[in-house]
Symmetry: C2
Subunit: 231 residues, 2 copies
């Protein structure tokens, strides 16, 4: 095993350190955040830091880094109070990555990278038409993190759109079937292969592998073989 301490981190080349530390948290979500400015100019931003905060109300967070350059996305979110989050699927991962280039505020990343803006249900922010799972988010809190001057944006999901077949009987969404990609580090993209869904863990109870609909595979086999069931 290779060991790095805080002192070692400090002595690393800046680019090497950024790639190393960005690899540590594990697989990250790949999302495109859509916004528009006061004039209706559209903006699209690649974000790998979207994370779940709660289900009721439905809350998501993301980390934005203001750095020293203007950040159109944050400005637009503050202006309209709405943004969209769009899953990056396999067939658009290169366009999504290109959207992270520093285009000017008057240039639309949609046009530059070849993705299609789409307006749904009166939301004041563009969706990505090519995305198979996307949702509109109402800004709820903007919390500056003084520890390193990044910004935590918390929002509430108010409209969800998803390919129907991917939504399973118990509410689980099979995003693998949508070919949603995962990100590692700053620049690597992955598709996935499911190992299993697992039953809710309880002390002193063995885990069961579940099928995609959240049913115990073994129980399912039993009920199918039992003539007294499903008669």
């Amino acid at each position: 095993m290779k060991h790095f301490s805080t002192q070692d981190f400090a002595m690393l080349d800046k680019q090497y350190r950024a790639k190393l530390i960005n690899s540590l948290s594990g697989f990250k979500s790949a999302n495109l955040v859509g916004t528009q400015d006061a004039l209706g100019n559209t903006n699209l931003s690649m974000v790998s830091s979207v994370f779940h905060i709660g289900a009721d109300p439905a809350l998501v967070g993301m980390i934005m880094r203001p750095d020293s350059v203007p950040r159109d996305t944050l400005t637009n979110i503050k202006h309209h109070g709405f943004y969209t989050i769009n899953h990056v699927c396999r067939d658009i991962f290169q366009q999504a990555h290109q959207a992270s280039a520093r285009y000017g505020a008057q240039e639309s990343e949609f046009e530059k990278v070849g993705l299609t803006p789409e307006y749904l249900d009166g939301v004041l922010a563009p969706f990505v038409a090519e995305s198979r799972l996307k949702f509109a988010v109402k800004m709820r809190e903007i919390m500056p993190l003084s520890i390193n001057n990044t910004i935590l944006v918390i929002g509430e999901i108010c409209h969800l759109y998803c390919v129907s077949d991917a939504i399973k009987a118990d509410g689980y969404i099979d995003i693998e079937s949508l070919e949603t990609v995962a990100v590692t580090g700053l620049d690597c993209y992955h598709i996935t292969h499911r190992l299993s869904r697992l039953s809710y863990a309880k002390p002193n109870k063995p885990l069961q592998c579940l099928n995609l609909d959240g049913e115990d595979s073994a129980a399912l086999i039993r009920s199918k073989n039992d003539p007294h069931q499903h008669s």
Copy 2:
């Protein structure tokens, strides 16, 4: 496409809603958080909300939900000021999931699920010996999120341990080679298949696919065919 609005969310069964909303953010990291209490009792907690906050200093965040039950992990973090974060690899994903069962404070999840506590470099928290990428974290901030009474824990990475071969020439860590798993929803685990690393995106410059060491694959081919190089 299936459409849900805020009103639809409110009318869903609680369990259905939890599974649906937890699926939205995309692929999540799978990590085991190791702590110990004042008496040295070890604790292990499955967390799918660890996310990158910054590289210099090296900061990670995670969301904890206090709910109405005592949360040993948070109590222990506050007591010692240290915790460990350990990647969940394919061969231990079922044990990791079982660690989410509600064991008592005097019961060690390590023992209950069959994982091995390991102490390294004087850190006052146990690592998971079976994990191939793990790091010690010094607590920096505990921020209650008043919006839904969850807690954002921010810490600084102070020791990193990783299988050497996985660390590439430019600092990127190939966590796919470690068989680190990704999580979707509340209970589904996935291994991954790499599509590509991509070059840093710039306006008006085509993207290049990079090899695992972060080198332009095409440039690499050129230099290998050029007798004036590597002579």
